[in-house]
């Protein structure tokens, strides 16, 4: 028992070779006995109070075999195949003919038609495999057991990404199964240089985390850093990739996302190709990629599937909407309580006229409405979808309408808050940034209400300074704006055509820096397209 705990208690371990062909750490090795009954007793004692474990004893010919697995985590067809092969198809006495110790070898190499099998001798490891939903065969008289990967965990099928839907481009998204997720990545990036390293993190959950990177693109220093940070983690359980994110990012006390989490395989692959690494966490449909910079959160996957000229406009819209989302309520309150002379004359009468009947100061009004909106947002996420519609009606129609009618808030303010909220949703595909925007908006609103535009300027400066001091795995968070890398601005406020992305991001990519080496598309030579007459005319003209 103690041994078992000790082995599991060790911190997150990097698994040397990927896949189930794992070599257990030698220091807490406790071999199993060749007596099946002893082993069974051991295991039954370990899993004493577990009801959903299955101990199935059967005979292959004359030899007693014990199969152990957790109910529901094993593929039924595979387990049936195992039993059929051992109980029915096995030639008489075959197992008796070989020495007792080689029985598992025989089963492994000659009898079971499965590829993901492994001989295990360590009792602790056996327990771990069982816990990680594998099937264990213990053969009587043999001091090694056989692990069969017949895992079949409950999982949903690959479906469209929920948080980051796109119109164009691939429509598959990551799911909660790590094997599927890594397969989704590898199927898109068929390069031997795409390397993956497995880590088991979580003392109790034993969650598998796979670090993926393209060896000759990624910066080795960054990869070394992430390895270090992953092995440093000591936690009882990892329930989602965001646990990992929070435990390894450069700074936790910030509202800005320092690692990008995506549920789009194409986005993950794009990041890998830029020299970033990806962390796939079992049980999470969000794959982490880093190092991340701020402008990444302003990009949507769609941007790369549309004409760059259109994207210029869309990007401009997105930057406008982040400005509106963060600043509009603050600017409005600053305008009507500090800088009234700035309001255009026709508007000043409108605002003053409608505000005359509102009893509260503008800042209180705005805070009230903003907080109501935030509550509505929060409740519409948490509520079951069926009730959500009702909330929308109550929130949007009844509350808004009634608040204006009862002169609790001014109609202009309702428009301002609504526009700001809609602009916030325009960043929807980057959910974590949208959350940061909510906080900034509140801060700017308070500053605008307290000190007008001067307050807004100071708060904006504070956030900018804060962002400039952030780093994601050593890469400045505000790159390429600060430090200004003019060459890389081509994917920030606008997106240049693909052929112009000649180099990978200089602060992120390591060795292979050339991304695209295609000359810009040009009109074809005239002999491919132009009619014969134009050719003739040209020749004539030449003469």
């Amino acid at each position: 028992m103690l041994h078992f705990l000790r082995s599991i208690n060790s911190k997150a371990k990097k698994i040397e070779s990927s896949g189930p062909k794992e070599v257990p750490p030698p220091h807490d090795f406790k071999g199993i006995s060749s007596n099946l009954a002893d082993n069974e007793a051991d295991l039954r004692q370990e899993f004493a109070n577990i009801s959903d474990i299955v101990f199935k004893q059967f005979y292959a010919g004359e030899v007693k075999i014990l199969a152990v697995w957790f109910d529901g985590l094993i593929n039924n067809r595979v387990s049936q195949d195992v039993f059929r092969a051992l109980m029915l198809d096995i030639p008489e006495k075959q197992l008796l003919e070989v020495p007792k110790e080689e029985r598992t070898d025989l089963i492994n190499q000659h009898i079971l038609p499965f590829y993901e099998t492994q001989q295990v001798k360590d009792l602790a490891e056996i327990k771990r495999w069982i816990l990680r939903s594998k099937m264990i065969l213990l053969v009587d008289g043999c001091s090694s057991s056989l692990m069969i990967d017949a895992e079949s965990r409950p999982q949903r099928s690959i479906s469209e990404p929920v948080v980051e839907p796109t119109v164009l481009g691939p429509h598959d998204g990551f799911i909660e199964n790590i094997g599927v997720n890594t397969a989704l990545i590898r199927s898109r990036l068929g390069d031997a240089m795409l390397q993956s390293e497995d880590y088991i993190i979580g003392r109790r959950t034993n969650t598998q985390v796979t670090l993926m990177y393209v060896a000759d693109i990624a910066n080795p220093k960054i990869i070394e850093e992430v390895r270090k940070r992953l092995t440093r983690i000591d936690i009882d359980g990892i329930l989602d990739s965001s646990y990992i994110k929070e435990l390894i990012q450069d700074r936790t006390l910030t509202i800005f996302p320092l690692m990008k989490s995506t549920e789009r395989p194409d986005a993950a692959v794009a990041d890998l190709l830029e020299g970033r690494f990806a962390l796939v966490v079992d049980g999470s449909p969000q794959v982490l990629t880093a190092p991340s910079v701020f402008i990444e959160f302003m990009q949507a996957t769609d941007d790369y599937y549309m004409s760059p000229t259109v994207v210029w406009f869309i990007r401009a819209l997105r930057y406008l909407s982040i400005f509106v989302a963060t600043n509009l309520p603050g600017i409005y309150v600053g305008l009507i309580t500090f800088h009234q002379e700035m309001i255009p004359i026709p508007l000043v009468f409108t605002i003053a006229g409608t505000r005359e009947v509102v009893p509260f100061p503008a800042i209180v009004d705005a805070l009230f409405l903003l907080i109501v909106f935030e509550i509505l947002w929060e409740s519409s996420i948490r509520l079951p979808r069926v009730v959500g519609a009702a909330i929308n009606i109550v929130g949007a129609l009844i509350l808004g309408e009634a608040a204006v009618q009862s002169s609790l808030v001014s109609p202009t303010l309702v428009i301002v808050i609504a526009v700001s909220a809609v602009a916030n949703f325009a960043l929807g595909s980057r959910y974590d940034l949208a959350q940061a925007v909510r906080v900034i908006r509140l801060a700017i609103l308070v500053a605008g209400g307290m000190m007008g535009f001067y307050g807004i300027a100071l708060v904006s400066l504070f956030f900018l300074l804060h962002m400039a001091s952030l780093r994601s795995f050593g890469v400045p968070y505000f790159e390429p704006l600060a430090p200004l890398i003019t060459r890389e601005l081509k994917d920030s406020f606008y997106r240049a055509p693909l052929w112009s992305f000649k180099k990978r991001p200089v602060l992120i990519a390591g060795r292979d820096t050339t991304r695209i080496d295609t000359p810009p598309p040009s009109p074809p030579d005239e002999h491919c397209t132009a009619g014969a007459d134009s050719k003739k005319r040209r020749q004539k003209g030449g003469k």
Binding site: F338, H339, E341, M342, P344, P346, M451, G452, F453, Y454, I456, A457, L458, S460, L461, F462, L464, L465, H466, A468, S469, P476, F478, L481, A482, P483, L484
Partner: protein
């Protein structure tokens, strides 16, 4: 000492922010008061002084690579004298920083928030400067890199957007005043251009130091052109005499902006853009005085000096002047001598001559 490294461009941008901000508040008034419609010529001539100062400070920095003036002063003048002069320089940084804070805060108070006490503005902006300096030279130099663009666009907007009120014939006749007067009044403009000597404190923080002198000269000249353009616009909008009658001609010019007859009175936005620029100027002065203090006493780190010096700067700023009349008087009469003729030009020049003389002696022997 300072682990942060900045790029040459960041230095150039930082110096630009220093040379443009707050200078545009007072300079048009002083220029127009002295030489009316020829004020823009003095802004251009001021660049000549600036270029000279860049050359001196860069020449000194070349002799002592990787050292700030505070560090090489003892090497030139010997330890006691060098340390004393260094201390005087550090105090100069601190006091000029305080003057700048006072000037800008007074501007804010007069133009957009007359009832708010000076101390509130001062403490808020200095606390933020403290935060910026704590997060390192790198980060605030980087933010300046982005925001300088905003500041310059805002100032350019003030120069260009009142176009329907500009009457360029008001600039005529050209050079009505005698050249002597023009050069004398260019010293006012030049003494502000001389803030470029703070670059000496920042050069050791450069990651690469190849084009610094070229960059700085370009910056000084461009800033001269920029300020001249602003003088031209101011005089064209108000005429030479009325421009000199305004406390902040630049601000008055900003009030002339009217876009499509609907969006006018945008001067608050301009003032706010100036906050974004002046903040970095304040940061630069605070940084130089903190770094200088640490170097005089030979401390390895300066973070712990930051808080006392920030408080000291607030104190100095709060007690520096009574109001704008005093400050304007100081800027017109005392400042050129206080800055240009001593700390900015004459002392560095003397130091350089001493260094030259010494090295020639060494070569002879």
């Amino acid at each position: 000492m300072e682990p942060g490294k900045i790029s040459e461009r960041q230095l150039a941008f930082l110096i630009t922010a220093m040379l443009v901000n707050t200078v545009i508040l007072l300079m048009p008034q002083l220029g127009a008061r002295a030489v009316e419609q020829d004020a823009w010529l003095t802004a251009l001539l001021g660049s000549v002084w600036g270029i000279f100062m860049v050359l001196v400070i860069i020449a000194l920095a070349r002799r002592y690579p990787g050292r700030t003036p505070i560090e090489y002063l003892p090497l030139i003048l010997g330890k006691p004298l060098g340390k004393i002069l260094g201390a005087i320089y550090v105090f100069w940084f601190l006091s000029v920083g305080a003057v700048i804070v006072f000037e800008f805060i007074s501007f804010l108070k007069i133009t957009i928030m007359p009832k708010t006490p000076l101390a509130v503005f001062m403490v808020t902006i200095m606390v933020l400067a403290y935060y910026a300096l704590r997060s390192g030279l790198e980060s605030w130099a980087r933010v300046n890199e982005i925001l300088l663009f905003v500041v310059l666009v805002a100032i350019a907007a003030v120069i260009i957007l009142p176009y329907h009120n500009l009457d360029f014939s008001r600039l005529l006749p050209l050079a009505e005043h005698p050249p002597g007067l023009l050069i004398a009044s260019s010293m006012v403009s030049g003494s502000w251009r001389g803030e470029v000597i703070l670059a000496g404190m920042l050069i050791p923080a450069l990651a690469r130091n190849k084009h610094t002198s070229r960059n700085l000269i370009i910056v000084v000249v461009l800033v001269g052109l920029f300020l001249a353009a602003m003088e031209i616009s101011t005089v064209a909008a108000f005429g030479g005499v009325p421009a000199g009658q305004k406390e902040f001609p630049f601000f008055s010019l900003a009030r002339m902006i009217s876009i499509a007859k609907i969006f006018d009175r945008l001067e608050v936005l301009i003032v706010i853009a100036l906050v974004l620029g002046t903040f970095f100027k304040i940061c630069a002065f605070l940084y130089c005085s903190t770094l200088g203090t640490a170097q005089i006493f030979g401390f390895k780190r300066f973070q712990f000096l930051l808080l006392p010096l920030t408080v000291l700067m607030i104190g100095l700023a709060l007690n520096s002047f009574k109001g704008m009349p005093e400050l304007t008087d100081f800027a017109a009469n005392v400042w050129p001598g206080y800055a240009l003729l001593s700390f900015e030009l004459v002392i560095p020049l003397l130091l350089y001559l001493i260094v030259l003389f010494r090295s020639r002696q060494v070569r002879k022997s």
